[in-house]
């Protein structure tokens, strides 16, 4: 893949277009909603505040679907059935949040941090958020777009690949599987957002270790240091 030092006129225009996308206020509202809803911060609140919480909205079954002392494939099947509502609800809300521009808002807010903190160009923001929160394949598709449009050079791609690879889709996956482990976290007094924080540290570390590796050990690629 060719390394870019200077972007062409056409590419600069395309970049300006992407950066100029207007974020309307529903996007920011959606983003705040997403953070509050899935963070677990409102779990213990009753009344109006408690509405803005994923586990509260999920509620309880009112009966033990799995019964006692099951094992093997059948037990596994009944068990995953207890998670079906969790995934359905999580993605239903995520789709709305995305549709209102929540991801775009997230990306806009992250842009100033991406270059110094990770060493990747600002417009990886959407691929970054999508691949982490929504779907691995969605993030991959957006990243491939960037590569096809030559908006990312080889070094930056390596760093971004490391970010994407480690714990890919982990927030999305962790939310849809929350039914499995969240009761234990809640019993220990630990909000979901704490685990998300650790996942964030994981991914940022992965990107920066790769950044270090590329800058120090990778002799083959030339071009601007990321």
């Amino acid at each position: 893949m060719s390394i870019q030092r200077e972007f062409t006129e056409e590419q600069l225009k395309k970049i300006k277009e992407l950066e100029g996308q207007k974020i309307r206020w529903p996007g920011y509202v959606a983003l705040v909603f997403a953070v509050v809803f899935f963070s677990g911060l409102m779990t213990n609140f009753e009344g109006i505040l408690g509405i803005f919480d994923y586990s509260n909205i999920l509620g309880t079954f009112g009966l033990n679907l799995r019964g006692e002392a099951g094992n093997g494939a059948r037990d596994g099947f009944l068990y995953v059935m207890t998670i079906w509502p969790n995934v359905t609800v999580a993605l239903a809300f995520m789709n709305v949040i995305e549709g209102q521009g929540g991801l775009l808002a997230a990306q806009k807010l992250m842009n100033p941090f991406l270059r110094p903190v990770l060493g990747v160009p600002g417009w990886t923001g959407l691929a970054l958020i999508t691949g982490w929160m929504c779907s691995t394949d969605g993030g991959t598709a957006l990243t491939t777009d960037l590569v096809d449009n030559e908006l990312i050079n080889q070094k930056e791609l390596g760093i971004f690949a490391a970010w994407s690879f480690v714990a890919s889709g982990s927030i999305g996956s962790a939310i849809s599987l929350a039914g499995v482990y969240q009761p234990y976290l809640t019993a220990a007094g630990i909000p979901l957002i704490y685990m998300f924080l650790l996942l964030g540290i994981l991914k940022v570390s992965a990107a920066n270790l790769m950044r270090l590796y590329i800058n120090i050990l990778d002799k083959k690629s030339k071009g601007a240091a990321a």
């Binding site: 691995t136 991959t140 490391a162 994407s164 962790a174 849809s176 570390s205």
Partner: protein
């Protein structure tokens, strides 16, 4: 089935329903097979006696992170399928081998080295990441495994 048809379009009601369809499809065709596989694995390990043996073998390693030896099996499973690994956790909790506060940092550990082969094909190859970066990226996951384990162990003990 092409899940792209359920992509968000801006209409809140439609997006909600389509998101639900996406989620349910995911639950049915991705998570269900993964969970069933995990439970089969657990049963095979229990029936063959391998669970106890592996638990003893991995005990010193997992002990470094304040975890029971049996969690090592969950970690190994995560390398193949992280949802499968997470599916195994309640069984360990019921047996008193895993606690809520351990889960808080054990899950990130599982994600650190999770599904590496799968991501190679689903992420690195399609984005045309140079193949000489494949090994370093995978190794980084393994380097971060103990690091996030210790950080998580320390931080969780401190805060909760």
């Amino acid at each position: 089935m092409d899940t792209k048809q359920w992509a968000p379009k801006g209409n809140i009601l439609d997006d909600f329903l389509n998101g639900g369809r996406k989620g349910f499809y995911n639950a049915l065709f991705n998570q269900t097979p993964a969970f069933v596989m995990a439970f089969i694995l657990i049963k095979v390990l229990n029936m063959s006696g391998l669970m106890a043996i592996l638990g003893n073998v991995l005990s010193p390693i997992m002990g470094l992170f304040g975890l029971a030896g049996e969690t090592g099996i969950v970690l190994i499973t995560s390398w193949l399928s992280t949802p499968g690994a997470i599916a195994m956790m309640p069984a360990l909790v019921e047996q008193g081998l895993l606690t809520g506060s351990q889960i808080a940092y054990f899950i990130p550990m599982c994600y650190a080295i999770g599904q590496q082969l799968q991501w190679l094909g689903r992420i690195l190859a399609p984005i045309r990441c140079p193949s000489r970066y494949y090994a370093p990226i995978m190794i980084i996951g393994w380097i971060l495994l103990p690091l996030i384990g210790w950080l998580g162990f320390a931080l969780t003990s401190l805060l909760f």
